[in-house]
């Protein structure tokens, strides 16, 4: 290991050591604001190491990790999302100062999960893949059930624990099968071995499918989506936002690299499987969302559908698919953080704001909050001038370019369905009948300390939504540049 390697690894090393610092910090001083600041500072410092790593990128370190600009972009996305989740968590926990729940370790777990996510974005090896994934999952077991005095979080946590470990078992078995066939755990070498082979043995295909099932589970693609609504509903809202963004972004980063390193687009063996996942997720997500009466569950179902759209883009294959997926993901993360951010702000000490009633007349009582929520919902629905529209534009363009007409038509159909339930929520915001009551309740809520962090993050998100939607040129250029890195570094995989 050389100094250059250390430079390349600096984001991961920084995050790891800052996790330990935060842990020690909790031992020294158990104080909410201090620990929250420490956690936020850790994320900012790690963000600061990204340019350092970029100066030596691309570099493969110890066979396990490849730090190229692609990985660094996703790291940046993961870290930015974590920062916003920490700001939201601070808001969420200050609402509950009377609960006497020790909330400091919450931040530690968030940092550890993010550490896992960083590893996942850079991993090119089954070991680092599994390590990163488990770091995220194990931290999430604790985070989802953190409000242990309540019933719903515990139920959600248990459900996630059981299903997630099953998925991990699938993953391990799939990896074992692939290793058995190829004798290597490096993605690119697995790919090369597969390409060298003319016919694909069934065992191989089985291994690959099992790995994909595990990834599908983590992304919440139908038919592996059953945990999504319950976990989204039960988890504390900032953690819902975390599960919806950071945990999934990292897995998508890995999936893209996995697909590109294994050259699956050229082999096309799993195309029907992917197509099925995409179609099933779009349909299941949207039809389930139509039935929801709970805002968090509705957003959960919509996320199932969104990863279906993402699959359409992914299925298109080639560098354009990577570009489309990355842009879609950036837009999706921004949007989802906005939506769950508003849900966090609307929450009360007793419960999360997850019924439609909590939002009735919000537009008239707290217009700016409502505007942020509306922007997020419109972006989820894919209405122009928001980031979500360009994301959808990319997905459709990728699908059209690859000639995936059935999936593109399904995507349109589903977007139209999606518009219906997003509008249902938007109309509630404008409802005038009980507007006065909501004004009354919101007036009683006192201004909490650290409110500026929430306000700042929500306004950053809202302006990001508009900026990506109205002037995406620079972002597209940047993503294009980074994605070519993904394609070229795949060639010299080891060292």
């Amino acid at each position: 290991m050389t100094t250059t390697d250390l430079f390349a690894l600096s984001p991961i090393l920084a995050m790891g050591s800052l996790c330990i610092m935060t842990m020690l910090g909790i031992a020294v001083r158990r104080h909410h604001a201090t620990i929250a600041t420490l956690a936020a500072a850790s994320v900012v410092i790690t963000l600061g190491t990204l340019p350092l790593a970029a100066s030596v990128a691309p570099r493969t370190v110890a066979m396990l990790l490849r730090l190229d600009t692609y990985a660094l972009l996703y790291m940046g996305l993961v870290l930015a999302a974590t920062l916003i989740v920490i700001a939201l968590s601070y808001h969420y926990w200050t609402l509950r100062v009377n609960d006497r729940e020790e909330c400091e370790e919450f931040y530690l777990l968030v940092l550890v999960a993010t550490f896992g996510a960083l590893i996942l974005t850079a991993s090119v090896h089954f070991v680092s893949f599994f390590l990163g994934l488990e770091l995220i999952s194990v931290s999430l077991y604790g985070l989802i059930g953190y409000l242990r005095t309540r019933r719903a979080p515990l139920e959600a946590s248990l459900k996630y624990l059981l299903l997630s470990s099953t998925a991990s078992a699938f993953l391990l078995f799939g990896m074992a099968l692939l290793y058995f066939q190829t004798g290597t755990m490096v993605f690119a070498e697995v790919g090369a071995a597969m390409a060298a082979h003319g016919t694909k043995p069934l065992l191989w295909l089985g291994g690959l499918t099992l790995v994909m099932v595990a990834i599908g589970f983590k992304l919440g693609l139908a038919p592996f989506h059953l945990w999504i609504p319950d976990v989204y509903q039960g988890a504390p809202t900032p953690i819902t936002a975390y599960v919806a963004t950071v945990a999934k972004v990292a897995v998508v980063a890995l999936l893209l690299r996995f697909v590109s390193d294994l050259r699956m687009a050229e082999m096309q063996i799993l195309d029907p499987f992917f197509g099925f996942l995409a179609a099933a997720s779009m349909l299941a997500g949207n039809f389930l969302a139509l039935l929801q009466q709970n805002v968090k569950r509705l957003l959960a179902c919509s996320s199932i559908a969104h990863f279906g759209y993402l699959q359409v883009a992914l299925l298109a294959g080639g560098p354009f698919a990577a570009e489309a997926v990355t842009f879609y993901l950036v837009a999706y993360v921004t949007t989802t953080l906005g939506a769950f951010g508003v849900v966090t702000v609307r929450s009360t000490p007793l419960r999360d704001a997850d019924t439609f009633e909590d939002y009735r007349g919000l537009f008239w009582s707290r217009p700016w909050l409502a505007v942020t929520f509306i922007l997020s919902l419109l972006s989820l629905a894919g209405i122009p001038i928001t980031a979500g529209f360009l994301g959808k534009f990319y997905a459709i363009a990728a699908g059209v370019q690859a000639g995936l007409w059935p999936l593109v038509l399904l995507l349109i159909l589903n977007s139209a369905i999606g518009v219906y339930y997003y509008l249902r929520l938007i109309v509630t915001l404008f409802d005038r009948s009980t507007a006065e009551i909501t004004i009354e309740t919101s007036a009683s809520g006192h201004v909490i300390p650290g409110h500026w962090a929430t306000v700042l993050s929500l306004s950053v998100i809202a302006s990001m939504l508009l900026w990506l939607g109205s002037y995406p040129g620079p972002a597209i250029d940047f993503i294009r540049l980074v994605v070519t890195d993904l394609a070229t570094t795949a060639l010299h995989a080891r060292f």
Partner: protein, 522 residues
């Protein structure tokens, strides 16, 4: 620059009007009014000084501006104005003025936000009419729909929620199909030229295989058909028009039907002329079905606004026939008919609002005999009803007559069938007057007659219809220089060459027509 100003005035006035609600309850109204007045005057600028634009050479566009936006996708902020768009643009802020006046007394809560949506929708419509980049076109297309959804959903009458959602779902599904077709077109361009482009000029020069062209044409057609509407995609329309507040009904009927007809003329026909020619009999058939079916349903309505809504379906059927006749005469007719229909149906909805304000109902079974009680309102309603049925001497007549005249050469049988629509229009229009204003008086209260600004606005609209009825050359002379650039048009005179200079026989052919009403009057 001046094109951005046209879009920008209502766009910037929108948040201002919203904010001004804090000052007083009339401030948003006056801001909206001032913005729309200045926008109207600005659009009339082109009419008075058609050569006053910044572009030195007047090729295809009177006025054109272009800035790169998303160069990676070949998307630019490309706006252009020609004769076809500017006569329609002049109408949009004027209809907006009518809507503002009609809402003056009706909208009493959340006034600022109402005018915000109103101005935003109009700005979207104007944007649609000048956008020459298909991505930008789609953007404005969506910008005009969402505010209308809110107008219906927040200020509408009973069951407004369902009507608003239905409106948005229909138009949004159409919009998505449009989006896919636009993207597919850009991808075809990428296949041919190496890079994607959404620019109108680039796409016009594209050679599209007939099979692809057919599918893309279908995509565009469905999107515009839903919005126009064409029968079988029309079910959102009566609900939306009926449940909307008066101001929104006026916008819907007067301004929002124009972009879809314009889209057919500007994009569908020039981009896919061959596919469109193939599909013309089907489209014209749909137009005829729309005309007759709309008229039939209009006659059966008991609700005043629903009747006018169905009459709108009927009239737009005729516009569709004219669009797909694909010749110059019919095209001129379509433009005039769109303007006349916009004005007359906006007026009829304004009258509906006035009646509802007085009677607290739109049910015509509870009206009757109002002629004696509100003579001014009744006589104005009679004027617009006969305008809508196509009385010679008014603009609607010229428009529909030219459409039928123009399409007769191409499809004589279909046109003959379509002309029965003029008869059915007479039936439901007179039924409207009969049920509402004649017969025994059913209301025992004293009702205030029309007066003040609503009256003035209605009179102004009457003047416009009469003026265009007697002097339609005002519109034709504006659209006429554009015609040579619409290459898909068949020459309407038998011995004319396909590409004609401006001073060509089609002008001569148009000459006698404006004099027809002169003849009948004199």
């Amino acid at each position: 620059m001046i094109l951005w100003l046209l879009i920008g005035i209502p766009l910037l006035a929108a948040p201002l009007a919203w904010w001004a609600e804090r000052l007083s309850s009339v401030a948003p109204r006056w801001i909206a009014f001032a913005a729309l007045i200045s926008d109207t005057l600005l659009s009339l600028w082109f009419w008075v000084f058609p050569y006053a634009c910044d572009a030195a050479e007047h090729g295809r566009w009177l006025c054109e501006t272009r800035t790169p936006w998303i160069p990676q996708w070949g998307i630019a902020l490309h706006l252009g104005l020609d004769g076809l768009s500017f006569v329609l643009i002049a109408l949009i802020p004027a209809i907006g003025l009518v809507a503002v006046v009609a809402s003056w007394t009706e909208i009493r809560e959340r006034i600022g936000f109402f005018h915000f949506n109103l101005l935003l929708a109009l700005s979207g419509v104007i944007g649609v009419l000048v956008a020459l980049d298909l991505f930008l076109f789609f953007l404005f297309w969506e910008v005009m729909l969402l505010p209308v959804y809110l107008l219906i959903g927040v200020w509408g009458h009973e069951h407004r929620r369902q009507a608003a959602v239905k409106f948005f779902l229909f138009t949004q599904s159409g919009g998505l199909i449009l989006l896919v077709s636009i993207i597919a077109l850009a991808v075809v361009h990428q296949g041919a030229a190496g890079s994607p482009s959404f620019d109108y000029d680039d796409l016009l020069g594209l050679t599209i295989s007939s099979d692809v062209g057919r599918w893309l044409m279908l995509g565009f057609f469905i999107a515009f058909a839903i919005k126009l509407p064409i029968v079988s995609f029309h079910t959102w329309l009566p609900d939306a028009y009926e449940k909307a507040p008066t101001g929104a009904s006026i916008i819907l009927a007067g301004a929002l039907q124009i972009p879809s007809a314009y889209g057919l003329l500007r994009f569908l026909l020039p981009l896919f002329p061959d596919a469109a020619r193939e599909a013309a009999p089907i489209a014209m058939g749909l137009g005829i079905v729309g005309t007759l079916y709309g008229a039939l349903l209009a006659f059966a309505q008991t609700d005043y606004k629903r009747l006018v809504a169905y009459s709108s379906v009927s009239h737009l059927g005729i516009a569709l026939i004219g669009i797909f006749a694909m010749n110059r005469l019919a095209l001129q007719g379509v433009v005039l008919q769109l303007i006349a229909h916009g004005v007359s149906s906006a007026a009829l909805f304004m009258l509906a609002g006035a009646l509802q304000e007085r009677l607290r109902t739109r049910d015509m079974r509870l009206m009757g005999g109002l002629w004696a009680s509100v003579p001014r309102l009744a006589s104005i309603a009679l004027f617009f009803a006969v305008a809508s049925l196509g009385l010679p001497g008014l603009a609607n007549f010229i428009g529909e007559f030219l459409v039928l005249f123009g399409s007769f050469r191409a499809h004589p049988w279909l046109t003959t069938l379509a002309s029965t629509g003029m008869v059915t229009a007479a039936i439901y229009s007179l039924a409207l007057i009969q049920r509402t204003f004649h017969g025994p008086l059913r209301v025992d209260r004293d009702l205030p007659d029309l007066s003040g600004s609503p009256f003035a606005v209605l009179v102004a609209m009457m003047i416009i219809l009469v003026w265009l009825g007697w002097y339609p050359m005002a519109v034709f002379s504006a659209t006429e220089p554009t015609l040579p650039f619409l290459h898909y048009l068949e020459p309407s005179t038998p011995n004319a060459a396909p590409w004609q200079p401006i001073d060509d026989p089609s002008t001569l052919l148009l000459q006698p027509v404006p004099h027809l009403p002169h003849g009948s009057a004199g």
